[in-house]
């Protein structure tokens, strides 16, 4: 069904790359070769929580998980993507070393290798831990999955889940941001003012991250000088670094990119089970 949704796929052997220039060209050719009907874009991603703890430290309640899924669903509603989880599939890993795993560390690799819950091609592995160093979270990019599936997923500072201790980052938007990376989005300030930036046409380039709650009246903030008049710095975009309560938008261009990245690198998500009613609607809308 993936092929039907997107049309004929590009040569997959060329797609395992993080090279921005090549990625951009590949995405353009993929879009040109595929039929991406926006009305048929619907997907429910199964989410497996893996809570790494040090005894009682790091424990996450059912309410927090439900609230996190609700925040993700509200944020991704415009994309046609939703998230669901099953309480029976939640895993708690009590390991003080893994609990303090750093980004890119051997601890991270060992933890993920031992405790990844499900096939990363078909679901999201959502880890919580306490990496320290002011880290809020990180994610793997879609292009990395084929070559290193064991590392696939997002790792979140436990205090960033709704109701956590990491204010002002405790409303669940950090997960929205990291899942954005997991679905192929870059920061809106990717590459600063040097093209291609984040490779999304409707997120104006800006020189670096915005923090806190940058004022709407102080626009254009750190927008690059090449921006046309009247364009605003994307200070409310989920892929910036502002506080949780200041993030509230994905652009149309970002939504386009997410679906192209799913088609190119995460087509395993597009199972009949994950697509549900959209799959049925698609089947009835297309004559074979």
């Amino acid at each position: 069904m993936t092929e039907a949704l997107y049309g004929r796929r590009c040569a997959t052997h060329e797609l395992s790359t993080g090279d921005l220039a090549r990625m951009s060209a590949l995405e353009d050719s993929f879009r040109a070769a595929s039929r991406m009907e926006s009305s048929l874009r619907a997907l429910c991603i199964k989410t497996h929580f893996i809570h790494v703890t040090d005894g009682a430290q790091g424990r996450i309640s059912q309410t927090q998980r439900e609230d996190q899924i609700a925040v993700l669903n509200a944020a991704y509603a415009p994309t046609g993507i939703s998230f669901a989880y099953d309480e029976d599939m939640v895993v708690e890993v009590d390991n003080p070393d893994f609990y303090r795993m750093g980004h890119g560390s051997l601890r991270e690799r060992n933890c993920k290798t031992l405790h990844q819950v499900d096939d990363p091609q078909k679901c999201l592995n959502f880890y919580t831990a306490a990496p320290g160093g002011g880290l809020l979270g990180w994610a793997t990019f879609p292009y990395m999955m084929e070559g290193d599936p064991a590392m696939d997923g997002v790792v979140m500072l436990d205090g960033t889940l709704p109701g956590g201790t990491a204010a002002p980052y405790n409303l669940g938007a950090t997960a929205v941001h990291e899942v954005g990376h997991w679905l192929g989005l870059y920061h809106t300030f990717q590459g600063g003012c040097v093209p291609p930036g984040d490779d999304v046409a409707d997120t104006p380039a800006h020189s670096g991250p915005n923090y806190g709650k940058p004022s709407d009246s102080d626009q254009p903030h750190n927008l690059c000088p090449t921006a046309p008049a009247g364009v605003l710095c994307p200070i409310h975009n989920y892929m910036n670094y502002v506080d949780d309560d200041w993030m509230n938008e994905f652009t149309e261009g970002q939504i386009e990119r997410i679906w192209a990245q799913i088609g190119m690198f995460r087509s395993g998500l597009l199972t009949a089970d994950n697509r549900g009613e959209a799959e049925a609607a698609f089947a009835s809308a297309v004559s074979w």
């Binding site: 790359t17 993080g18 980004h103 880290l135 809020l136 990019f141 070559g147 002002p168 950090t174 923090y211």
Partner: protein
């Protein structure tokens, strides 16, 4: 996998920018950050590769960096850095001036004023490589440990500390060397070597050197005529850590 292979060339002049021929600690910090990233990429088969090449000109600065990072650096005589890059890698020159030709150039400051725009080197390189960028809290929310180093502390020790951990920096305040680190392992080691704890959890963005600290400030160190204190975020008098970072005040 066919990820990005990047070759970062440290220009000899970059190492001594604005420092009268001495090794600039900002350059040491950047070199340490780059090498840690290169090691991380090497340990994880994500496809991206990073190589660091030092263009050596026999200067004191180049030799001082070698003393800190000898086993991790490829050294070649200046200006042949690009030729030492692995085949297929994309050379990127870290320098003080724009260089003509095919070489991509990352200009960070100049010889007179020193290094500028060196912040977030890790993030910028990760973006260039297309690899994941871990998200950090806003600087206002991050705390680290503040230590007073023993009087016998050498500049080599300070260079090594800066090289070994992101975010580590120091200031010499009238002979009292104060070091800030967010790396608890590093803090443990320095304490074991005689460093004195001034604060276990200080907000770097709220650290200021003032003549008359406000009543709600937390004084951490007194030097002749001045107090280093953690102050409310609204305080603007005196010098902040950005002014003090790697500076020597007499």
């Amino acid at each position: 996998m066919t990820g990005v292979a990047l070759c970062l060339i440290l220009e000899a002049g970059f190492l001594a920018a604005g420092e009268g021929g001495h090794l600039n600690p900002e350059a040491v910090s950047v070199a340490g950050t780059v090498l840690r990233l290169a090691q991380e990429l090497h340990a994880n088969p994500a496809g991206a590769e990073l190589t660091l090449v030092l263009e050596e000109d026999g200067s004191d600065a180049a030799q001082a960096l070698r003393a800190v990072a000898d086993r991790d650096l490829i050294g070649v005589p200046a200006p042949a850095g690009a030729q030492a890059c692995p085949p297929g890698s994309r050379p990127l020159l870290l320098s003080l001036r724009l260089v003509a030709g095919d070489l991509r150039n990352w200009v960070m400051g100049d010889a007179r004023t020193g290094l500028e725009d060196v912040s977030d080197a890790d993030r910028k390189l990760r973006e260039e490589l297309g690899v994941p960028v871990p998200r950090r809290m806003a600087p206002d929310h991050i705390t680290g440990e503040l230590l007073r180093m023993p009087p016998s502390t050498s500049i080599d020790t300070l260079h090594r500390a800066v090289f070994e951990a992101d975010q580590t920096s120091w200031a010499n305040l009238a002979g009292a060397v104060v070091l800030y680190t967010e790396n608890s392992d590093q803090a443990d080691g320095l304490r074991a070597d005689g460093a004195q704890v001034l604060s276990r959890a200080v907000h770097l963005t709220r650290l200021r050197l003032l003549r008359d600290p406000p009543t709600d400030a937390v004084p951490l160190l007194t030097v002749p005529g001045m107090v280093l204190a953690e102050v409310p975020a609204t305080e603007t008098s005196g010098l902040n850590w950005r002014d003090l970072r790697f500076a020597t005040l007499r």
